[in-house]
């Protein structure tokens, strides 16, 4: 199956990627080729097959609800591109 440039632009927005015109062109071709390749899965009859999301069957691994030490604020903020004393700083979310 092939992909339109508009679809690729939409996926880029969903993926929070800003692609250049050139990247959009290459990506449209390459994603189309990859999707064409993976389309071979449709020739398999998988009716009634249980999907396998994980390699080992395990469910609900619980931990005791205990207070334990965790990352301290300074460590958590140490790698922030922009911060103040206690928070991450980002461009304004509301308004201009």
């Amino acid at each position: 199956m092939s992909l339109s440039r508009q679809e690729v632009e939409k996926v880029a927005l969903l993926a929070r990627l800003q692609l250049s015109e050139e990247e959009l062109t290459t990506m449209t071709t390459q994603l189309g080729q990859i999707l064409e390749y993976v389309d071979q899965l449709s020739e398999l009859d998988t009716e009634g097959v249980e999907p396998m999301a994980h390699a080992i069957d395990m469910s609900n691994v619980f931990a005791e609800d205990e207070v334990k030490p965790s990352l301290d604020r300074e460590d958590a903020l140490a790698n922030a591109p922009k911060r103040d004393d206690e928070c991450y700083r980002v461009p304004a979310v509301l308004g201009d």
Binding site: Q18, E23, L44, V49, A55, I56
Partner: protein, 513 residues
């Protein structure tokens, strides 16, 4: 014999016996790195002072008569996908070029606790996405056997540093073949453990249901030693298995009797380099001479492994890599420039009377995410995020992601059925040997097909090892793959060591410098 030619087990024993200090061993490796890594570029970062300091601490503990753990004083290289506290952890990405994690990966803690000395962080494909290490945003790693060729990937630096004698042991990660393929290309041993055998805590996530950490070394016993040090349950990783860890290095030299090997006919079909096929056949003859029975088997769904893998892995990646938002850590685009850009765009649209398009303009926050990610990620990472986002998007989820999960079950069932009749699956690791640098850069799909024989083990969650089993006429290493049921590492390592006990491929070294 020089220090850097000793096995890890020999090094450890020499250090324990006082024939050698950990400091001297570490210094010998640092010297070798200094001499050879300008050419190979297997390491992203080597902290010589820190390594020597760790080594001296081991020496002091030994001198005081304290126990130092099973790696006692042996230097070890770590793939730069594992977090090391306060030290660079770039994942070979511009996104994390300055990132210094506030904690150690569990595997790093375990290596330290076992007396291992961390030498440095090795190069890789960005976020482990690739099969040649050419997708590193930091540097190009060369294959020590032929400098014009790739070392494989994504753990290319991890394999090249061992092959180049620049570390006796090395830790890599394998999501679709990323330990075994570079091990095969560089002529060393690489083990992908069973999913859940080794904790993934502090391993920067690519595809969480497929990623496993594992050892690379020259010999099977050395790989067994490192696995013994890093395996085991970890409360910080709920998918790590609460199972005891056998002492792999204690039993690895005990041969298995009457083993049954099965070679999948699908792994010997068109596309396999005849020279690779010939070396793998010769390796099967070695097993026959040791009393193994060898039969043809079929993994009928294995030809769908790459298609399933390249939906599942990118889907998980698109979700995992959503965390790189330019807000919490990692690269952020220039904010002033981005605000100017948005203003310009708005002006242009308004001047053209396109008021609908003005409403659709990104908010500054969204544009900050989009530009930071566009500038921070390389092209393969973007490609996979795009594939995954598409496969998980509304309207396509059932056709792609859910379908791939069902095929994954069929691939697992193939292995379950086969393991009722054979102990191990034997075959090639890769369809071909190490390829020239640049040969596949413009053709992502061809590169994906390199994982044809390896991705099945990740999808099924079983364990698998790559062992050097020969060289082509032009001197490039060929790897033999043995696969075993989940949590059968102990027997897998013993079976692999039976081959090395009869052959000398693992003792050959490339000439460097």
């Amino acid at each position: 014999m020089s220090i850097t030619q000793l096995s890890a087990l020999e090094l450890r024993d020499h250090i324990a016996d006082g024939k050698l200090t950990s400091e001297a061993a570490t210094q010998a490796y640092l010297d070798r790195i200094e001499a050879c890594d300008r050419e190979i570029k297997s390491y992203i970062e080597v902290d010589a002072d820190d390594a020597l300091q760790q080594a001296r601490e081991v020496d002091q503990r030994l001198a005081a008569g304290d126990s130092v753990g099973c790696l006692g004083g042996v230097p070890i290289a770590i793939k730069d996908l594992l977090c090391t506290r306060g030290q660079v952890t770039t994942c070979a990405s511009r996104m994390l070029q300055e990132y210094r994690p506030p904690y150690n990966a569990t595997v790093v803690e375990k290596v330290k606790a076992a007396g291992g000395v961390l030498l440095g962080k090795t190069n890789m494909d960005e976020f482990a996405m690739g099969g040649s290490t050419e997708n590193s945003s930091i540097q190009l790693t060369r294959n020590p056997w032929d400098l014009s060729r790739v070392p494989g990937g994504s753990s290319g630096g991890a394999a090249a540093c061992v092959a180049g004698g620049m570390a006796p042991l090395s830790i890599g990660t394998d999501t679709g073949g990323s330990i075994r393929q570079p091990a095969a290309f560089c002529g060393v041993v690489g083990l992908k453990p069973t999913y859940g055998r080794v904790s993934r805590y502090g391993l920067v996530a690519f595809a969480s249901s497929l990623d496993q950490i594992g050892p690379l070394a020259w010999s099977v016993p050395d790989a067994a030693l490192l696995l013994e040090a890093i395996a085991g349950h970890d409360p910080q990783d709920s998918t790590s298995a609460p199972k005891p860890v056998p002492q792999y290095s204690e039993t690895v030299d005990q041969p298995l009797k009457g083993i049954r090997l099965g070679y999948p006919r699908e792994h010997f079909e068109a596309g396999l380099n005849p020279e690779v096929a010939e070396k793998v056949q010769a390796a099967m003859d070695v097993y026959r001479s040791l009393g193994a029975s060898i039969t043809e088997i079929s993994l009928p769904h294995s030809k769908y492994a790459i298609a399933a893998y390249y939906i599942i892995a990118p889907s998980e990646a698109s979700s995992n890599l959503a965390r790189y938002d330019g807000a919490h850590y990692g690269y952020r685009t220039d904010e002033q420039q981005l605000l100017r850009e948005l203003k310009e765009e708005r002006k242009t649209l308004e001047a053209a009377g396109k008021y609908d398009a003005v409403d659709d303009l990104d908010s500054p926050l969204i544009r900050m995410y989009r530009k930071s990610r566009a500038e921070g990620f390389g092209s393969e990472v973007k490609r996979r995020i795009m594939i995954g986002t598409y496969a998980l998007s509304s309207g396509y989820y059932d056709a792609y992601y859910l379908k791939a999960l069902k095929v994954r079950r069929l691939i697992r069932s193939d292995f379950d059925r086969v393991f009722e009749n054979v102990d191990f699956v034997i075959g090639p690791v890769t369809p071909d040997v190490a390829f020239p640098i640049g040969a596949m850069t413009d053709d992502p799909l061809s590169l994906y097909l390199q994982d044809l024989y390896t991705a099945g083990a990740n999808l099924a969650g079983i364990t698998s090892i790559s062992v050097p089993c020969g060289a082509t006429a032009s001197g490039l290493p060929v790897g033999l793959q043995l696969q075993a049921p989940a949590f059968e590492e102990e027997r897998l390592l013993r079976a692999a060591n039976m081959f090395q006990a009869e052959t000398d491929w693992h003792t050959r070294r490339p000439t460097l410098g």
